[in-house]
């Protein structure tokens, strides 16, 4: 799975947001955060499939700790995006502010978090 397709889905971006917030989460913790903080009520199995997609794109890695499987964000594959389309350094501050607003802010999970046709809800 290439990273562009992996991060095209809002649920998968929310998963990455939560793993950046705290590294080393179980599937249970991720699902709890997604429903309580993002209103994403997808099934555990659907979230597990999203995690498989992200792992195949190299954006998360997993490790066993005790008998639990934990998930970490891995940002290295995103480096290629910045190298392919370098961010110019001579931009003014107002442009930087515009860029910082480009983030998932829609509160409605039904319209913003159900776009990946590959994964059952």
């Amino acid at each position: 799975m290439d990273i562009y397709r992996a991060i095209a889905d809002p649920t998968r971006r929310a998963i990455l947001d939560e793993l950046v917030d705290r590294s080393g989460q179980t599937l249970f913790e991720l699902c709890a955060r997604l429903i309580m903080k993002h209103g994403i009520g997808s099934s555990r199995q659907a979230i597990s499939q999203h995690l498989d997609v992200l792992e195949s794109a190299g954006l998360i890695r997993t490790r066993r700790e005790g008998r639990s499987k934990l998930h970490w964000f891995e940002g290295a594959p995103l480096k290629g995006i910045g190298e392919r389309w370098p961010i110019s350094t001579d931009r003014d501050e107002s442009q930087d502010q515009d860029a910082s607003q480009d983030r998932d802010t829609s509160p409605d999970p039904h319209t913003s978090h159900s776009t990946d046709e590959d994964i059952e809800k």
């Binding site: 249970f28 913790e29 709890a32 955060r33 005790g66 639990s68």
Partner: protein
Amino acid sequence: MRISATSVMVDDQQKALRFYTETLGFQLKHNIPLGEHSWITVVSKEAPEGTELVLEPDAHPAARPFKKALVEDGIPFTGFAVDDVEAEYERLVASGVRFVQPPTDLGPVITAVLDDTCGNLIQIMEEKGQP
């Protein structure tokens, strides 16, 4: 009809009795030998006449694979209410308890998930009061 008892399935009843009383702080209610195993229940010191927690042997062949699958995905077998998740977390970590999820603010509740050393994860939960 009332909920008088609920169970956790433990891999060793005596180890579980120590953990649930000495570490978590529940108190023994019943300890009745029944052949190979015992009927062991604990209660909250805050509600000694309340719901009993049965420390039930996980001897059935289906029990351990079931527990293993829950632990792998971080799913708590059951959960307990506490007044202050952060304080309980500090207290239990100091007693050597391992948490798979530290205190996490989920909006109306704060939760954390610990390992009971008997093959289960347990969630502790604090309901936030009304502001």
